[in-house]
Amino acid sequence: MLKINNLHVNIENKEVLKGVNLEIPHNEVHSLFGPNGSGKSVLISTIMGYPEYEITGGEILFNGQNINQLSIDERVKLGIGVSEQRPPTIKGVKLRNLIELLMPGEIQDETFRKGMLERFNMDKFLDRNINDGLSGGETKKSELFLLMLARPEFLILDEPDSGVDPEHLKKIGAMINETLQKKIQGNELCNPYGRNSGLIATHSAVILEYVHTDKAHIMLDGKIHCSGNPAVMMDQIKSNGYSYCINCHQNI
């Protein structure tokens, strides 16, 4: 579904991604580990098409199509969705305004209200400025809620567990799992083949206690250093830290 070949990216003429290779097939969710500053967020922003990230080499293929030149919203229309680590607060722009633009008429719909807004307790955030004054957990919830509305085929979650207390973590995990299902309502909830694909970037890996991922990759200094079983890699990182990876020169 997503294939990245030898991706090089510059920010202000400085190379920050140095030849990333990554493939995530249909129905698979991968985790992306790496210490702070390793390039995880840069990779995510580049997949999304943020203009300040300049691709100097390589390609990003989504369902076989090269998306290097597409705008952010064109990528979203193809089915890519993102939950950001630190989304901005936008003065005067209410969550309600954004939902009205994304789903005209839905916000007045009773089924929508009961089904989505009330179930995820998002009613209270509707008339607040987007992301304004939210706790870490609330920010993640709001991001996931917007993803659930868009129902993308491919989800990118940037540090969905950072700044979230343990009580909220379980709820966040449940929301991610629901968003990963192809359909929110109906029998497909139980169908393992009805799963969307995704990439979850996390440096603490605690979210993986609630969300199953099929494969893990470790990113170090702008490159994917190694890939493997998420549980095994998570254990290694937990017991030995990322220094273990730096010393281990296994490449994919």
Binding site: S71, V76, G81, P88, I90, G92, V93, N97, L101
Partner: protein, 401 residues
Amino acid sequence: MSDFLNKDNNIGKINIDYSEFSQIENETKAINSISELKEDEIETLHSVGINFQDYSDTGKFLMYGVDVFSLTPKIPGVEIIPLKAALLIYPEIKEKYYFKAVNKDQDEFTKTAFEKEQNGYFIHVKKNVKVKDPLHTALFMHREMSTMCIHNIVVLEEGAQLHLITGCASGCTIQGGLHIAVSELFVGKGAKLISTMIHNWGPDFVVQPRTATIVEKSGTFVSNYYSVKPPKVIQTNPFTHLKGKNSNAKYMTVIASLPDTYNDIGGTVLMEGENSGAELVARAVNHGGTVIQNGLLIGAAKNARAHVDCSGLMLSDRGYIEAIPGLRAVHPDARMSHEAAIGKIDIGEVNYLQSKGLDEMQAIALIVRGFLDIGIEVEGLEPELEKTIQEIAELSGHGEE
């Protein structure tokens, strides 16, 4: 360099040859009633918040060029009549209100209005009468390069309440004209006046409003000003005199400036009443013209409280925004503060909204809409104002020209 350091504060000023405009006329008969307004004229009036097709008891006033039409609401104690008629019916208006808030010798425009005023509205709300629905008044210019010179007087007696919407517009094919308007507003003891003014002008218009308001004890004056489509030049600095104890004034100004336009829109409040309060909030979105946000609050009484907030969004590399939030304390117990910020749209915010599925235009329009959302009091006219804000925001979403 000299352009940026102009000591005379003439930045972006546009010289106007006033002889280009026709002489002030007093007699025409372009239409015989409001029902003769054409489709496109009705639509233009809608764009400035005016709906004459509403057959409710709401009062109406239309000045169509020189012709005047008015309908007093079916509410006891409320009157809307053309000023010329009012001066004949109520001679005391001359003594009590006529050029009593605005100084007729203030400048060439007030002098012209005094000498040649065509008409205007006189609105009177009697003691303790609270008008629930807004009154709709419109000043409409339908002839190319004509001059409109009007004088309005609004009087709210003790405890009265009124929400007045004034739409000023030109016909959609009309390019230019001169609009001179003197408005004098009197807010009695404990009364509340909300005055919402929306402008939509042709590209070569020159607009020179002169407004002054006097607020008595515990009275409240709220002024909302929106410019949907700016004229070539507008210069106005409405003055409010908070005369009474516990009186309040609030100015909310929202303008979108187009290339080659000069928008000098200020506000001055003199707080002479003990414990009086004033707030000025101005927002400007610049697409290449000149915007001067000139706010001055004068604290001249014990416990006078004031705050000025001027913010501008630069959406073009042409033009200027100059924010001048002024405070003048002439009493030791006045408490005053100000803030001003000018910047461009944060690209991170645009990217974020695009990542949620909006295209770039929609994202910019939504951010501008948020920027312009300054909590204007909109009881009774929400749909119109909402549409106006949306129009200004969408203008931003579609680039500078």
